[in-house]
């Protein structure tokens, strides 16, 4: 439950964003990140964006996290 997962903002509505997290859409609070924009890559934990990350890192993290999540029992 401590894993923060990487995703990309695909839509925004005030304090909330739709985020594509490895192909799954989630509604996430964007109140805790600075100047969120459409297309931003973010780390998401427990329904909140907790950090922005860069584009290149998104793909790299997605690969790692999908492996980790697949393993989850």
């Amino acid at each position: 439950m401590c894993l923060a997962v990487p995703g990309r903002i695909t839509a925004m509505d005030k304090a909330w964003a739709t985020v594509d997290i490895m192909g799954v859409e989630s509604i996430v609070s964007i109140l805790l990140i600075d100047k969120p924009e459409l297309g931003d890559c973010i780390l998401v934990h427990a329904g909140c964006a907790i950090q922005k990350i860069n584009e290149a890192y998104l793909a790299y993290l997605q690969e790692v996290f999908s492996e980790l999540l697949d393993e989850k029992v």
Binding site: M1, S29, H45, A46, C48, Y57, K72
Partner: protein
């Protein structure tokens, strides 16, 4: 050079240059799992022992907190929501899943923010969120508390069991029995709090620490950095290898929110005991949202369960399979202790990965 070859080179270098035995602690259960999965654990020389740390919130939530949640369900007719991993953790006598089966008034929440909508659906019935986690989870819980207050949600409160990482690390590092030579810090805690949050490890205890991500190369580099410092090739310091996610100062907005909504207090850790300043509790401004206050429930003083050695596992004194209950009576399907419950609990990780004893 591809990643696999690079990792092999790093491991060869570690093997050549590490003469003495080194105990390295990965604080976070996600790292424990990733070390198994990436194969790094098996590639390490026998002199390097990886020990699991106290970074799984499910494992450290004490019996009194589960007992309080069960008392709320039984005596106050509330609806309880929490993260799924918490359901099978036992209090003194039973777990939340026992109540879930009997009453159906327990919900699994993916996020504490889900409680804002759920509280409306319950049409006036009181909803309590069992708030567990570390600094990574604390901002979303703080946000849920703040939004509940701002929106005047009168039927939502929080059973607080949030923990802070530095005090438990101080507790482990300052102990006489401590035999750790280096620490692998939880990257996602650092993403919120900033890299500096962990600088005390090298400064106060003169052992190296690294902040690294969860990719094999990151973790191999993390161990490489630690061993270089342990071998005296470099001075002991905190190295941040997770720079894309972790800045020195962390997330300023989240930190401001944590300061507004929470205060620091003593907490009871399962199997470890009470640790000063290791809890986030609601600040006076948000005390109305404290479930214990609202429902006049007192935390019990549970007797430690005999047989389970989780307390020793999560401070690195023993490895999971060194507990005499491991596999024999304690398994993920029927966990005796909390380290066997969560997929990020050390005992469950060792069980699910064929235990792979350290050489």
């Amino acid at each position: 050079m591809d990643t696999k070859r690079l990792i092999t080179c790093l491991m060869e270098d570690i093997r050549k240059k590490t003469a003495s035995e080194l105990n390295l602690m990965e604080v976070c259960g996600t790292h424990t799992r990733a070390f198994f999965q990436s194969g790094i654990r098996e590639m390490l020389p026998p002199s390097i022992r990886l020990l699991s740390g106290p970074g799984c919130p499910v494992c450290v939530t004490d019996e009194a907190c589960i007992d309080a949640a069960i008392a709320l369900l039984k005596e106050k007719d509330i609806h309880l929501a929490t993260f799924g991993d918490m359901l099978r953790v036992r209090g003194t006598h039973e777990s939340l899943s026992d109540q879930f089966g009997k009453r159906g008034n327990v919900s699994i929440a993916y996020s504490p923010l889900d409680c804002l909508a759920l509280s409306k659906k319950l049409s006036g019935r009181q909803l309590v969120f069992l708030a567990v986690g570390f600094e990574t989870t604390a901002p979303s819980i703080a946000l849920a508390v703040k939004l509940a207050k701002e929106n005047g949600i009168g039927n939502l409160s929080f059973l607080m069991a949030l923990k802070r990482m530095p005090p438990v690390l101080h507790h482990i590092l300052a102990a006489k029995r401590n035999r750790l030579h280096g620490i692998i810090c939880p990257g996602h805690v650092a993403a919120v709090m900033g890299a500096r949050y962990f600088s005390f490890i090298a400064q106060e205890y003169a052992i190296p620490a690294v902040i690294c991500g969860f990719e094999a190369m990151d973790m191999a580099c993390g161990i490489y950095m630690l061993t270089r410092q342990c071998n005296g090739q470099e001075r002991s310091s905190l190295r941040n290898l997770y720079k894309t996610c972790v800045g020195d100062e962390g997330n300023a907005t989240a930190n401001k929110l944590l300061q507004e909504v929470f205060e620091v207090d003593e907490a009871s850790w399962r199997g470890i005991g009470r640790i000063k300043d290791s809890a986030y509790v609601l600040s006076s401004r948000y005390k109305d949202f404290d479930a214990l206050n609202r429902f006049c429930i007192r935390l019990s003083n549970p007797l430690p369960k005999s047989g389970c050695s989780c307390g020793d596992v999560i401070i690195g004194n023993i490895l999971p399979y060194e507990c005499r209950m491991f596999e024999v009576v304690c398994r993920p399907q029927n966990p005796l202790g909390p380290c066997m419950v969560s997929s990020e609990g050390s005992c469950a990780i060792y069980f699910n990965n064929g235990r792979v004893p350290m050489k």
